[in-house]
């Protein structure tokens, strides 16, 4: 038995390392993460309404059923995107995620302070390539820098009470996500 003590001890130490590495690697290895689930709605660089969750089917687990939502799965390698979201009567938010689900930016109707949230999504390199004068003249232009080339824009609109769902959905249908050029 004693001859197994050393390999077991070594195994435990190595196990700690395996744990750290596998935790770090999990976001990249997960086959069924939010991005993969939302990719089933199709379309890259376009907006898709996310089906309302039911007990039998939901795009993702633990979705908030009090919201209507839409997603734009993006790839900025061909250029920047323009995202337009008309705000609804109650609460509308736009959140940005990297390809592996890191929430890097979010804003809501109140922080945007207008009836139409309009922004441009680009990589830091694309922003640096903007003509300088253009950057100055459009002072109120909202530019969001994506740390990764691929990711998700997720739009949530609150349905305050059930009767309002149709109206909120129709409003969300007017949102868009398309190449800026």
């Amino acid at each position: 038995m004693r001859r197994y003590l050393l390999p077991i001890a070594a195994g435990l130490v190595l196990g700690g390392l395996v744990h750290l590495l596998s935790t770090l690697a999990l976001p990249r290895l997960a086959l069924d993460d939010a991005y993969a689930r939302l990719a089933q709605l199709g379309a890259l660089n376009a907006l898709r309404l996310v089906p309302e969750p039911t007990p039998f089917a939901a795009a993702m687990p633990r979705m908030d059923p009090a919201f209507e939502s839409a997603v734009c799965r993006y790839d900025l390698s061909r250029g920047a995107l323009r995202v337009r979201v008309p705000v609804t009567a109650d609460y509308t938010s736009v959140s940005f995620y990297t390809r592996h689900g890191l929430a890097y930016y979010a804003l809501n109707d109140r922080s945007a302070g207008r009836r139409l949230i309009e922004l441009e999504l680009m990589t830091p390199a694309q922003r640096a390539a903007l003509p300088e004068d253009e950057d100055i003249t459009a002072a109120d232009r909202l530019i969001v820098e994506s740390p990764t080339t691929e990711g998700l824009v997720y739009i949530r609109a609150l349905v305050r009470e059930r009767g309002a769902r149709g109206a909120v959905r129709a409003r969300l249908n007017e949102a868009s996500c398309a190449p800026a050029a």
Partner: protein, 193 residues
């Protein structure tokens, strides 16, 4: 020679089992470090920011959930009642008290796997404007298998349930101190059938 190979094999098997076992456990329980706990409720404000730690990122990648961006809102999870007992949908679960300030909030009931619970009323949760409030600003919600008067949410008699209370457009969690978390309602269970 064969013995040496066996010893090496033992080391690798132990390494793989402990390492992957720990990762499996860690990604299945909680969303990383920096939890804010108020009574039965836990939230992970950092998980909705670019500073999310590797455990939070692994947990969300595995579950397939998108975390709420912190500028959007904060989700408080309740798995147990105030006494530390697992929430059981066969009991009457009472959620009562005051809430931290938020422009809107929602409360939703899920089964252990994060699915909504089927019921004839098609009712899975409440928004803050759907609820009947007490005059002193307190809320009282009952989760039970059968219909109740007042703010009732059906649990379908499921054994293990999870309640998520989401605060939208809230200052809670933006500060790093736990004392900023403010008030959350008490969670108790009775009349387990």
């Amino acid at each position: 020679m064969a013995l040496r190979a066996l010893i090496l094999l033992v080391a690798f098997v132990v390494a793989a089992a402990t390492g992957l076992g720990l990762t499996w456990l860690a990604s299945a329980t909680g969303n990383g470090f920096g939890a804010v706990r108020v009574g039965a409720w836990s939230a992970w404000p950092k998980s909705g920011t670019p500073d999310a730690d590797p455990y939070a990122r692994a947990a969300f990648a595995r579950s397939g959930e998108l975390p709420l961006g912190l500028a959007d809102g904060l989700a408080f999870y309740a798995v147990n009642d105030d006494g530390g007992n697992r929430l059981d949908g066969r009991c009457d679960i009472r959620i009562a008290g005051r809430l931290s300030p938020a422009r809107f909030w929602t409360i939703t009931v899920y089964d252990a796997r994060g699915r909504l619970i089927d019921n004839a009323a098609g009712r899975y949760g409440f928004t803050s404007s759907e609820l009947v409030w007490a005059s002193d600003g307190r809320v009282e919600i009952t989760l039970a298998p059968r219909a109740r008067s007042g703010n009732w949410l059906p649990t379908g008699g499921r054994e293990d349930i999870v309640v998520i209370l989401r605060l939208y457009d809230t200052p809670v969690g933006v500060g790093s101190r736990s004392s900023d978390a403010g008030e959350m309602p008490a969670v108790s269970q009775e009349h387990c059938s």
